[in-house]
Amino acid sequence: MWRLAFRQLTHDWIRSLLTALAISAAIAVILILRGFEQGLYAQSEAVVLDRGGQLIVAQAGVSNFLAVRSSLPQLTRERVEAIDGVSLAHPITGFWVIYGPEGNKFPLLLLVYDTLGGPPPLIEGRSIEDGHDVIIDIGLSKKFDLKPGDPLVISDFEFRVAGITNHSSALFSTFAFVSYDGMIDLFLESEIAPDISTFPLLSFLLVDLEPGADRAGVMQAIEDQVPDVDVFTPQQLAQNDVALGKELFGPIMGVLISLSYMIGLLVIGLIVYADVSVRRHDYGVMKALGFRLSHIVRGVMVQTMMLMVFAFPIGVSVASLVAIGIEWRAPVYMVDVLEPLGLVHVLSGVIVMMILGGLLPLRLIARTDPVIAFQVE
C-alpha cells in the first residue's frame, strides 16, 4: 500500500511537486493569518511585561495598559513607596501623538519613563541623555527612514533620535521613549497643549518590592492605603490587554482564518479529486485484479497523507520566510508562525482537511468500472 502510494507520487514528480507546493501555500496562508493574530496578542502582552516591576499601580477602574487613559495624582508615588514591602515606585506615563508628513501620518505612543519602563535593549545608537533625546522602534525607523542623530518633530518640537530599539510596537503602531524632561520640554516649548495639566503626568507606577516581601500582601496594602488606585501584577495587566485584543481582533481574524481553512479544504479536495480522476484507469485495473474499494480508498488516503507529510514542513517554512519578510519590511507587525499551540491547531485542521479531501472522490472511485482496464487510454 505505502509502496504503491509512494510510486504513484514519484511517477510524475512535477505534478506531485506542484501538488505539494499548492498544499504548502494553503497551509502557509492559514499559518500566516494565525501567526498575525497571535503576533497581535503577543505584542500587547509584551508591552506590559517589558516595562518591568513586580506590581503595576493604575488609576482606579483602569485595568488595561494600552490605549486607555490612566491618571494618578502626583502624591501617589510617595504614598506607594511608604508602604511596607515596597522598595521603589517608578513613574511612567504615555500619550498618543501623530507623526509624519502630510499624507503619511502614523500614530505613535510616546512612553515617558524615569528609572524603569524604558525601551528594550537598543539595536543601534545610544540611550537617552537629555530631554531632546528619543528612542524609537525599528518599525518607525524603517517606515520613515530615521536613524540615530535624525530629528523627530512632534507638534513643532524637535526631538533627536538617540537610539533604535525593537519589539516596541502594538495595535499597528509603534512606541517612542522619552524622559520626563523630554515630556516637560515638549509641553512647554511646543503647542501640544494649552495647559500642561490636560495630560496625565503620571499614568502608572511600576513597583519594585523589597527582597522577601509578600507580593499579594503588598498588593492588598496598596489597595487599602492608597486612594483611587488599582494594583495588578504585570501578568494580570498583560492578560487584560490580550483579552482586549481578542475582543478587538478576534471576530475579523476568525472570519479570515475560517476563509483560509476553506481555501485549504478546497485546494486539498481539488488535488485529491483531480488525482483520482487522472488515475481512474489505474483504479480500474486494480478493481479488475480484485482490489476492494476500501483498499483503494485507503491507498488514496495514504497518498494524501504522504503529500501532507511533505507539504506541512514546506508550508511552515514558507510561512516562516514570509513572516520574516513581513517583520523585516514592516517591523510594526509581528507574525508568530511558530507558536506551538497555533502549529498544533493548524496541523489538526490540515489532517481533518486531508481526510475530508480524501473522501470527496470516493463516489468517483466506486463508480469506476473495472472494464476500463481493458481500454486503451
Binding site: 501555500a25 480522476s277 487522472v278
Partner: protein, 369 residues
C-alpha cells in the same frame, strides 16, 4: 484550437470547477483582508462623516481625530463663533479609551457633549434618548446585541459608572466605537477644565469651507482648521496605512497560491492529453499555437475563478458583516480592479509549467500505443 480547449475543459468539469473554486477562495481571502481594513477605516471616519461640520478646529499641529490628542482653550469657541462666515461653533471633548459594559471591554471614542451640542451627538437611534444627561451614556446598538445590555444598565469608563440611556446606530467600529456622555462628565473623568478637543464649525450659507478654515487659522492663535472632506481623508488614510503592508503581503501569498492551483490544474490537463498534444504536433501545429492554447486555458480557469470571487465578494462579504456585526467589510471597486489585474498576472504565471511540459512532448510518441 478553441474547440479543443473547450472540449478539454468540458470533459474535466469537476476538476476545473473545483480548481476555479480554490482560486476564487484565494482571491476572496485577499479581497476580504483588504475589505476588512477599508471597512474599518470607513467606520473610523463614521463620526466625522455624520457630524458633517464644514470645518473642524483643533490644536495646532493636529490634523486628524483617530488616536489623536488635542486640547484647545474653551474661550476660542466664542471667538470662532464670532468670525464672519461662521454660523455656529460646537465644541466637543474627546478621549480614546476603554468602555466596559455587560462584562466586556471595547475601545471607544468617548465624545463629551455640551447641553446645546446635539448636532455633535448620535445621528440615528435604535432605542432610548440621543442626548445623555449627567451620569448617562449612549452606546452603540451593537454592544447591546453582543453583551445583552439594555437601557438602564451600567457602563463604566475608568472608575466612573454611567447609566445607559440610549443605543445609537452606525456608531460601532472594531477599533473605535462611539460613546456619548456629557461634556462635564468627561471633563471630570479627564480631570481637566477650560479646554475642548474639537470645535465643529458650521459655515453660513454660501461660505466656502476652505476660505473659512484659512480665516480661522489666520485669526485664532494656535489652532488647525480643516475642512470636512480633508479631515475625513486624513483619518481614512491614517487608518488605512496602518494595515497596508499586511494587506500587500497577503495579496502576494494569496496570488501565489492561486497561481499554483491554476498551474496544477493546467498541468494535469496537458499531462492527461500528452498523446493529443503529440498528434497535434505531428499534424504540424507549432509550439506557439499550443502555448497559446494553454494560456487561454489558464485564462479561462482564472476568469471563471475571478467571476466566482467577485460574485462571492459581492454577496458573501456583506452577509458576513450582517451576521458578525463586529466585522465591517467594505469591498471597493478599486480593490476589485486590482484583483482582476492580479488575476491576469496569475494566469500568465500559471501557464509557465504546462508550457514547459508541452515544449518537451515528442511528436513521435503519437505513433506509440
Amino acid at each position: 484550437m478553441l474547440r479543443w480547449i473547450y472540449k478539454t475543459l468540458w470533459l474535466q468539469k469537476g476538476p476545473v470547477l473545483s480548481s476555479a473554486s480554490g482560486v476564487a477562495a484565494a482571491f476572496v481571502l485577499v479581497i476580504a483582508l483588504e475589505a476588512a481594513f477599508v471597512g474599518e477605516s470607513n467606520q473610523i471616519v463614521g463620526y466625522i462623516r455624520h457630524a458633517n461640520a464644514d470645518v473642524w478646529v483643533m490644536q495646532k499641529g493636529v490634523s486628524n481625530m483617530h488616536m489623536a490628542t488635542t486640547f484647545v482653550w474653551d474661550w476660542k469657541v466664542k471667538r470662532i463663533s464670532e468670525l464672519p462666515g461662521v454660523k455656529h461653533a460646537t465644541p466637543i471633548l474627546y478621549v480614546n479609551t476603554v468602555v466596559k459594559a455587560g462584562g466586556r471591554n471595547w475601545f471607544a471614542y468617548v465624545i463629551g457633549l455640551k447641553p446645546d451640542g446635539a448636532r455633535a451627538g448620535p445621528w440615528a437611534m435604535t432605542e432610548g434618548k440621543p442626548h445623555p444627561g449627567a451620569g448617562q451614556i449612549v452606546l452603540p446598538r451593537v454592544y447591546a446585541d453582543m453583551a445583552g445590555i439594555k437601557i438602564g444598565d451600567k457602563a463604566e469608563i475608568a472608575d466612573k459608572a454611567f447609566t445607559i440611556v440610549g443605543f445609537s446606530e452606525q456608531t460601532f467600529s472594531m477599533a473605535n466605537s462611539i460613546a456619548f456622555v456629557t461634556f462635564s462628565d468627561l471633563e471630570e473623568l479627564l480631570s481637566i477644565s477650560g479646554t475642548v478637543s474639537f470645535i465643529l464649525v458650521d459655515a453660513q450659507e454660501g461660505q466656502d469651507p476652505r476660505e473659512l478654515a484659512q480665516r480661522i487659522e489666520q485669526q485664532i492663535d494656535k489652532v488647525s482648521a480643516i475642512p470636512q472632506e480633508r479631515f475625513i481623508h486624513n483619518d481614512f488614510q491614517i487608518a488605512l496605512l496602518m494595515g497596508v503592508e499586511i494587506v500587500s503581503f497577503m495579496t502576494i501569498i494569496g496570488s501565489a497560491l492561486a497561481a499554483l492551483i491554476i498551474a496544477f490544474t493546467a498541468y494535469s490537463q496537458v499531462a492527461r492529453r500528452r498523446r493529443e498534444l503529440a498528434i497535434a504536433k505531428a499534424l504540424g501545429f507549432k509550439n506557439q499555437s499550443l502555448y497559446l492554447a494553454i494560456i487561454m486555458q489558464t485564462f479561462i480557469i482564472t476568469g471563471l475563478a475571478l467571476a466566482m470571487a467577485l460574485l462571492v465578494s459581492w454577496v458573501l462579504l456583506p452577509a458576513i458583516s450582517a451576521f458578525v456585526p463586529q466585522v465591517t467589510l467594505a469591498v471597493t471597486t478599486a480593490s476589485l480592479i486590482k484583483m482582476s489585474l492580479i488575476a491576469l498576472a496569475v494566469a500568465l504565471l500559471a501557464a509557465l509549467v504546462p508550457a514547459h511540459f508541452v515544449a518537451r512532448v515528442d511528436p513521435i510518441s503519437s505513433f506509440k500505443v
